[in-house]
Symmetry: C2
Subunit: 153 residues, 2 copies
Amino acid sequence: MDRAEVIQEILDNLRRIFQAINEYSRNAEKETGLTGPQLWAIKLLDETAPMRVSQLAEAMFLHPATVVGIIDRLENKGLVTRIRSQEDRRAVDLHLTQAGEDMAAQAPEVAQSMLIHGLNLLPAAEFHCVGEGMKHMVRLLGVEHLTPRPLRG
Amino acid sequence: MDRAEVIQEILDNLRRIFQAINEYSRNAEKETGLTGPQLWAIKLLDETAPMRVSQLAEAMFLHPATVVGIIDRLENKGLVTRIRSQEDRRAVDLHLTQAGEDMAAQAPEVAQSMLIHGLNLLPAAEFHCVGEGMKHMVRLLGVEHLTPRPLRG
DNA sequence: TATAAATTATTTGTATAGCAAATAATTTGT
DNA sequence: ACAAATTATTTGCTATACAAATAATTTATA
C-alpha cells in the first residue's frame, strides 16, 4: 500500500468520523425533539448561563437576529426564560428553566462519550499515536490556534 | 500531562479540524456564490452526470422534494439542465452546463488539498501515526464500514 | 445639562433548506 | 386492459440565516 493509498484512506476515515458525529447528533435531535441549533444553544446556556443574546450569537457565530428566533422557539417550549437585565435595561439575560437544564443533561453526546470511553481503554502506544496524529492533522490545516467550539450536527 | 488531559486535547483538536473544514467550505460558498447543498450537488453531478433526481437525492441523503428545489435554483443560475429521459419518460436526467462544469472545477476544496499536500510531506513515522490514529478513531466510533461521503459545510 | 452617538434586542422582509403528503405522468405487473 | 408501482413535482408547513430598519436605553460629547 503506497502513500497515496494511505492518504486516501486517511481522508476516507476523516469523512467517516464527520459522518458519524453528524449522525449521532441527528439522533440526539430526534430524541430531544430539538433542532441542531436549538440543542447547541441549550448546551451553551447550560455551560454559561446567564448569557445575553449578543453573547450567545457571538458564541454560535450567528447573527443576533437569527438567535432571537431560536430563543423564541426555546422559550415557547418552556426551556429558556428571558429576564430583562437590571443594570442595563436594553439587555436580556437568558436563563435555562428546570426543564431546560434537564434537557441539557439528558441530551446525549454520543460520539463524544464513545471517544472518551474508547480512548481511555486504548493501550499506551496506540493512544499516543492518536494524540500525535490529531496534532499533525491540526497543524497541516494551520488551525492550532483556533479556539475549539463544540461539535454540532 | 495525564491521560485525561490528552483526551481533552484530542477532542479539542477534533473540534478544530471540524471547524477548519466548515470554515474553508464556507469560503468556497462565498467565492462561488452557491450555498453548501448547491455546491455539493454540483460536485456530485460533476463526478457522475447524468444523474436522476432520485439518484441525487439518495446520494445526498435528502428527500427528493428537497432536491427538486436545489435543482430549480441551480437551473435558474444556468449551471444545470434537466433533460427528460428517452427510455423512461417519467425520469429526468440532470446534466451540468459548461458553466456548471467550470464552477465544479473552480470551486476549491481547500481543506482537502491542504491535507493531501501536507500528508505527502510528512516524515514516515509521523505519517504512519496519522494513519493509525485515524483508524483508531474510526474504530472507537464503530463506523469502519461506513461508506464515506464527501466533506461538506 | 442637553443632545448626539453608540449599543442592545427586536421586527420585518427575503432566501434557502428540509420534510410529508398529495398529484400527475408513465411504466410495469397481472 | 387494468391495477400497482415508480418518478418527479407541487403544495403546505417549519426552521435557519442574514440584512436593514426600529425602539429602547446607555454612553459620550459639546
